[in-house]
Symmetry: C2
Subunit: 196 residues, 2 copies
Amino acid sequence: MARWEPGAPERLQKAALELFATRGFEQTTATEIAQSVGLTERTFFRHFSDKREVLFYGQHQFAQAFLAGVDTAPPGATPIEIVACALQSAAAFFPKERRPYSRTRQSVIDQNPALQERERHKLASLAATLADALRARGVDELAATLAAQTGVTVFGIAFTQWIREGEQRSLADIAAEVLRQLLTLTATATTSEMIP
Amino acid sequence: MARWEPGAPERLQKAALELFATRGFEQTTATEIAQSVGLTERTFFRHFSDKREVLFYGQHQFAQAFLAGVDTAPPGATPIEIVACALQSAAAFFPKERRPYSRTRQSVIDQNPALQERERHKLASLAATLADALRARGVDELAATLAAQTGVTVFGIAFTQWIREGEQRSLADIAAEVLRQLLTLTATATTSEMIP
């Protein structure tokens, strides 16, 4: 039977990011990642289905943070208000201390198409999960899909801004501002005759 | 020197879709696709970088349809109005006759993770292209990104509805309705105290 390794996923994730950032994702094997923290390849694959997945450890808790935010919205909240609550909750998942880690992680992802694909997949899953949670609150099909997609779009844009060099604001503040900007943008179009 | 094959990409695409739909994507090789229309594997790879790409032939023209729509928007149009024009132009790329083809194609994509990844990549590229076109019209960075992402989200939702069995409306009509729904959704939130 396999030995239980306390904190193994976290150690592997940290080691993987360091190796990916210095040597490159393609040039680093799962075995090397495992060995760098005194673990075996077998332990690596017990925790992660492939080499890409190691950078997405914690994704489940991230999705849960969105859902926890949905639950904090009062009964009468509109779909966008629910999404606003979800964004604030998800943003709390990324405290200031995490910014350097998130920045390095994103630069590794941005340099590798396979990692970008995995990231897009995770975001698509997140949007689907969020839409399900909205539907469970009685939001109709189309509104749930639109609001959930909007939430994930706003989060993505806010996150990109949050990890920029020199950015000082919290992710929660940036997300709120991006959402506000979207509302302003759409508000100017509601009475437009150009929209059929 | 390679012989020029008139209409080879279109023939390969049509044959590929038939084979993928009947046998499955994984079970079909590029050679089989080529041979089924009397062409060689070499001809296949002259037109497509890999087996997935054959289902995305025409993607460039699709993106161009979006951009052509951006150009039809009058000088004073707001970002969302420009996106509305882009959506109408892109929708015209999918006439009624194309619906059965699009439906089969999507069911093949939905059954294969590798094809889903490629599709998400194409949509992300489309959003980036659209955002560039908005910026080129003087729309600021954040508004361009938000409006472009919104446009691609609306298109995706409308397209999913358009290929549903029994759906009779045109893609242009559905896209306009989805955009209107989004505007209604966001309009109720602009004065919300729940959005920080």
